[in-house]
């Protein structure tokens, strides 16, 4: 219903007079402006999530020592005399995870890249429902603010992990309620956004742009949107149930006979703590593919462009992506292997988990083989894309021992898991995001970023990020649990590996310093970067070859393009240019 009410296109009502600032830049319904809004907001959240993590890393490296210099910034209830309290550590962990996943990475890869690029790549003049698009951004924005408000609640922000397992989260402080409310907003925003992307791709494709001519990035966005559309609602339902538990005293997730601090809880009981886990992971496993698929899409575009040759195995990549999306709905309980599953269910979930690794291998292999025979230009975007491959490789491969229950027994909930998923999200997705920013910056701003600064940013980031995450595998194998306020200092079996904590923390702070060239580059180039032409990278997809840089305010294209060929016609034998745009007759 809202779809039809809000869809009304604005271009006709506004095209003849100057738009007021507020309509043009704040409540804009132009997908490009919304994309930029998403991008900037999410980068700020990324920065914030990073900051939270740096505080945690202080505590992990030097447990119980007062934090220098900035200790005055914190209140008595979080860091008295600069010494972090366990409650605050837990809040930081939960909020770091939540912010990174739901407020930084998803909004970046779907909200920013998806919003900005999908209509351009399919040759559409805007999203199918521009007003819904605006609503999606603002709902996200409100959700973000609500999440942050949690830090000022009595008892601090949510502190039961980003997974919020009840009963712990049910009896947690008010911050948890705020977290749940925030999640409801974020989920709604994602739903609106994903509907919009699907309809745009299905309905607004330019003439001649058949399915197998879509850029891989657009394919990735399409599958991702389906994941968001169908996996998010169960978490919304779970959120509603937990809100009921917390606000009305129901006991969906509370079994009978709970004794907290020696007192029997006065509740009806009869609920199931595992119900939450099922609903949460029903979302959260597809969610991890939401984090990685668009990233793979970005990488594919950058690689095709900079190797100057078509992607190898484009079709099998597309089929693998669809299959991956499909099967990602059937693996969720691999996060719950140790919750008391029987053999049958267990065998089922570890089998699907092994199956799901195959399409990932196919995609990765195709990308790697695409490099062979290329004429590779190593610009900043390509460097990040190239590093992505082995980094995602490490992250993905370490998923295998976690996916086999017998080896997961020892590794579950240790730093091995933390290492596994950070390799896929940080040097994986975050690197892909960097690649995407360097690559599309000229399109968005009309200016290119500085290559020198970009390369410094790349090499330093690559070194330090491995310095943070590789030692985690060692700690994890040694049996150091995750989410430990003291980083394992009180456990005998962790003693031999504690020295790594300091090493990882220092790497993390150096990684922060390594971002300075990027931040400078990002802002300086906006106004004074080298001017870029419409097709700065000699690319073939529509966003480069049929639009201006930056794209026109209204309607994106001077002439709505018609598509004649596949997305990656580089170095076609017999042509004098080494690229043949999709819209070239």
């Amino acid at each position: 219903m809202d779809a039809s009410v809000k869809e009304k296109s604005s271009h006709d009502d506004h095209s003849h007079h100057e738009e007021a600032f507020i309509w043009k830049y704040v409540f804009s319904i132009d997908h490009k402006v919304i994309g930029i809004q998403y991008g900037v907001t999410a980068l700020l959240f990324l920065f914030f999530g990073f900051t939270l993590m740096m505080l945690m890393r202080w505590q992990l490296a030097y447990p119980g020592e007062a934090i220098p210099v900035i200790s005055g910034l914190f209140s008595e209830t979080t860091m008295p005399d600069g010494i972090m309290l366990p409650e605050f550590y837990n809040s930081l962990g939960a909020m770091h995870g939540t912010i990174m996943v739901f407020l930084a990475v998803v909004p970046l890869v779907v909200g920013a890249f998806g919003n900005y690029l999908v209509p351009l790549q399919v040759g559409a003049i805007d999203m199918a429902f521009p007003k819904l698009n605006m609503a999606s951004y603002w709902v996200y924005f409100v959700g973000g603010i609500v999440m942050l408000v949690g830090f000022w609640m009595p008892g601090g922000a949510a502190n039961s992990g980003w997974t919020s397992y009840p009963p712990l989260s049910n009896i947690a402080t008010t911050g948890q309620t705020v977290w749940l409310l925030g999640m409801v907003f974020l989920i709604t925003s994602s739903l609106l956004g994903s509907m919009n992307i699907i309809v745009t791709i299905v309905q607004l494709r330019a003439e001649g742009l058949t399915w197998m001519k879509l850029p891989f990035f657009t394919w990735a966005q399409l599958v991702t949107s389906f994941l968001l559309l169908l996996a998010f609602p169960p978490l919304e339902a779970a959120g509603v149930l937990q809100l009921m538990d917390r606000l009305t005293g129901s006991s969906f997730f509370m079994p009978s006979g709970l004794v907290v601090s020696g007192e029997v809880l006065d509740i009806a009981g009869g609920g199931s703590p595992l119900l939450w886990q099922h609903l949460f992971w029903f979302l959260a496993h597809p969610e991890v593919y939401v984090l990685i698929l668009p990233a793979l899409g970005i990488i594919a575009e950058v690689i095709a462009n900079n190797t100057r040759k078509p992607l190898w195995g484009y079709k099998s990549m597309v089929y693998a992506t669809i299959f991956l999306g499909f099967i990602s709905f059937t693996v969720w309980a691999h996060h719950m292997f140790l919750t008391g599953m029987g053999t049958a269910i267990n065998a089922f979930f570890q089998t699907t988990t092994m199956i799901i690794s195959i399409p990932s291998v196919i995609i990765l292999t195709a990308l790697m083989i695409s490099l062979w025979g290329g004429s590779i230009r190593f610009n900043s975007a390509m460097l990040f894309a190239c590093a992505f491959l082995p980094m995602f490789g490490i992250g993905g491969l370490t998923g295998l021992p976690l996916g086999l229950t017998a080896s997961d027994i020892h590794l579950h909930d240790t730093y091995y898991v933390i290492g596994h998923f950070h390799y896929v999200v940080a040097p994986g997705t975050i690197f892909a995001i960097f690649a995407g920013i360097y690559y599309w910056y000229p399109k968005v701003t009309g200016r290119a970023m500085n290559e020198m600064l970009g390369k410094i940013h790349f090499w330093l980031s690559l070194i330090f990020i491995n310095g943070i995450f590789f030692p985690m595998f060692i700690q994890g194998l040694a049996g150091v649990s995750r989410r430990l306020y003291d980083g394992g200092a009180s456990y005998a079996h962790a003693q031999d590996y504690l020295y790594l904590n300091e090493f990882m923390s220092i790497s993390a702070w150096l990684l922060a310093l390594a971002q300075i060239p990027f931040i400078i580059n990002f802002f300086i180039s906006w106004k004074s970067g080298q001017k870029a032409g419409d097709n700065h990278w000699d690319a073939t997809t529509l966003e480069w070859s049929a639009t201006t840089s930056p794209p026109l305010g209204h309607g994106n294209f001077e002439v709505v393009p018609t598509v004649y060929r596949g997305p990656y016609e580089y170095s076609v034998p017999g042509k004098d240019k080494d690229f043949t745009p999709q819209n070239e007759a």
Binding site: G161, L168, L371, S375, I376, A406, D413
Partner: protein, 266 residues
Amino acid sequence: MSEWILQYLYLPQDLSSHGHELDSLTGWVHLLMLILFVGWGAFYLLTVFKFNKKRNPSADYKGVKTHVSSYLEITVAVIEAVLLVGFSIPLWADVVDNIPEETAKDVVPIRIIAEQFAWNIHYAGPDGKFGRTAPELVDLSNGNPVGIDKNDPNAADDVTTVNQLNVPMNKQILVKLTSKDVIHSFFLPVMRVKQDAIPGSEFPLKFTAVSKGDNDGKYEIACAQLCGLGHYRMRGYYNIMTQEEFDAWMGEQQELLKAAGEDDGW
């Protein structure tokens, strides 16, 4: 081969009867990962070296023409299938099936009730039967952390400890695991045991210690699931004893119980 790679994997010592098999799976998987990573890595490095713009000014439209990669993918799938069907599924079945009877010979039943932030351990005592417990009866100040109904005849010889798990060597230990409040996870690194303790359900768990290891039997119980602000210090002690040591300790506990019983007459 799997032994070879295990040397480099930093796993803690394994003192259990079943851990060896789990570890060898871990070893095999890591071996597979290593081979894949090194193989692909070599190809990758070669490619980025060989095909940069200087060395190869014009790209090849077709690129790789063979289908070797498909065979490779199939091989990966087959190896994964072998690890899955040959190792992981049967190993897991071995872990969760054939849970022994509480009363069976050579089985030591122990109830473990996790709470924020301690491990309450409840031994059945010489009669091998647990007394009735109920949440209302939990009384921390009176030394009854698990809520044993002291009027139940089976309860008379029940021993409870907090954060101290003593087990005899070479006997099958049957742990019945639950929690009073939130979800915890019972983790014995040297035993290769980990199981979530979920309030409202009781899960069986079996293991056998076969050696005292390098640390003379003294190890730790870790909590592996975030359970609140004290999660990081929810540590218990785990003591592997010989049968004689265990019997002696149990005897001592029975004496103490009798003495206490004479004092307040329950």
